[in-house]
Amino acid sequence: MNIFFYIAATVAIISTIMAISGRNAIHALLFLILSFLAISVVFYLLDAPFIAALEVIIYAGAIMVLFIFVTMMLNVGLERKMENKWLNPRMWIVPGLLAAILLFDLILALKVSRTIPVGNQVIQPKQVGISLFSTYLLAVEMTAILLMTGVIGAYHLGSQKKKVMHRFLEKKIKTC
């Protein structure tokens, strides 16, 4: 089982690096999808099949489709020179240092503290559902309200009256 975990984790890391270093926007998004799939495999191996399935359905399947949809319409890929100018290598120094400190911290923490072994029992979808609707009910409701704001916003933007006139005709009327 361990070997599968390391394979999936390696795929996740490599594809995430490809996603953030890639120049072609769609290819970068495809690598990001691959990394979501790899993370889903990791979840499955950690005996959380329900979360693994949700990772694929929601992240890889629904949200990334929208990202690809938007990127597809933008027709990006020609503005590489601009990106090179904006992202000069010196900008990486401070974030790199901070991330290195975090990594050091993490390794220390892993060495010092004892980790809780996972994989004692498979967590069934039913258990997840019950805890979502009892222990974490407030969080679920609040998330629902947060999503509702998005729906209301979309309704507000989409509810503008439909123009029946053609845009050329409109100009003509204005000039008259």
Partner: protein, 314 residues
């Protein structure tokens, strides 16, 4: 050993049906349209499939120079892989199942949402206006109908108390779920039509306006994979309808369970073809409006009522 046999059996049945459907669809369409259809090659024109396949293999396999090459080649493969993977969790018989997963339905939904990529990426990588419009329509249509597809199945899940397909079939021993879950069945059937983008919902590839939509630039066996993928999709949705709403492999014991399963599946495949023969294609905005304003409230109401009734009788 038994697992290997199961995998081989499932693959053989799925691929044979999908390939055979090319002939079945053309013959059935011609019956309903008062024509003869392909009847020249072999008995009843059965070898038409083989002739078509040979033709596809010998066509020039052209990758357009203006396309995004790796994505263009990858796209048809994604379609076939996601659909064939889903067949792994469908029980063809009590023991005739590759992987009896306790997240079976979620596995199917995940795969079907990944299947969208093949069409979106295929259309985008072709770098062609018509293909791009087809891909755009496909992504909006499939994303929309995925929502109801998932929601319409939740009634069945509640009644069977499990995500596993085998458990759902076992739960139907007292009666098929088509009776209490009729609304769920209707929504699932329509969503299935939209997911496989079959007529009347073949808006992503509507040849009248978009040449062939997302697969305009495809030729040879890459086109063939999109073509077979569509038939595999029909087979999959029919198998799912038979499993979830019509008792799967359950049936009188004078015939083996696999036979009952295939019979039910084949009936729904014929329904798909009949719908193609009889219904015109709606407009794109009509499709979206119908989805969000009719099917979404219907499926949500179905969940509400099913849950209330189940709690009341518990």
């Amino acid at each position: 050993m038994k697992e290997a046999l199961n995998i081989a059996g499932v693959l053989f049945i799925a691929l044979t049906i999908a390939a055979g459907l090319i002939w079945v669809e053309r013959r059935l369409l011609s019956v309903w349209q008062d024509r003869l259809g392909p009847n020249r090659v072999g008995p009843f024109g059965l070898f038409q499939v083989i002739a078509d396949t040979i033709k596809l293999f010998f066509k020039e396999d052209w990758v357009p120079s203006f396309s995004d090459r790796p994505v263009f080649i990858m796209a048809p493969g994604i379609l076939i892989i996601t659909i064939l993977l889903t067949f792994a969790v469908i029980p063809f018989g009590p023991d005739f199942i590759v992987f009896d997963s306790n997240i079976g339905i979620l596995f199917f939904l995940g795969n079907s949402s990944l299947g969208v990529y093949s069409i979106v990426l295929g259309g985008w990588a072709s770098n062609n206006k018509y293909s791009l419009i087809g891909a755009m329509r496909a992504s909006a249509q499939m994303l929309t109908y995925e929502v109801f597809m998932g929601l319409s199945l939740m009634g069945v899940v509640m009644m069977a108390d499990s995500f596993s397909f085998n458990a759902i079939v076992e739960a139907q021993k007292g009666g098929w779920f088509i009776v209490p879950q009729f609304i769920g069945f209707i929504v699932f059937f329509i969503a299935g039509l939209a997911e496989t983008h079959r007529l009347p919902f073949d808006i992503p590839e509507s040849e009248g306006e978009l040449v062939a939509g997302y697969h305009s630039e495809y030729s040879g066996m890459k086109f063939g994979m999109f073509f077979v993928g569509e038939y595999l999709g029909i087979t999959l949705i029919s198998a799912l309808i038979a499993t979830l709403f019509f008792g799967g492999w359950l049936g009188p014991s004078f015939l083996p369970p696999v036979f009952w399963f295939l019979l039910k599946t084949f009936f729904f495949i014929c329904m798909f073809i009949l719908l193609r023969a009889s219904l015109p294609r709606p407009r794109y905005d009509q499709l979206m409006k119908f989805g969000w304003k009719v099917l979404l409230p219907l499926s949500l109401g179905n969940i509400l009522i099913t849950g209330a009734v189940l709690i009341f009788f518990k």
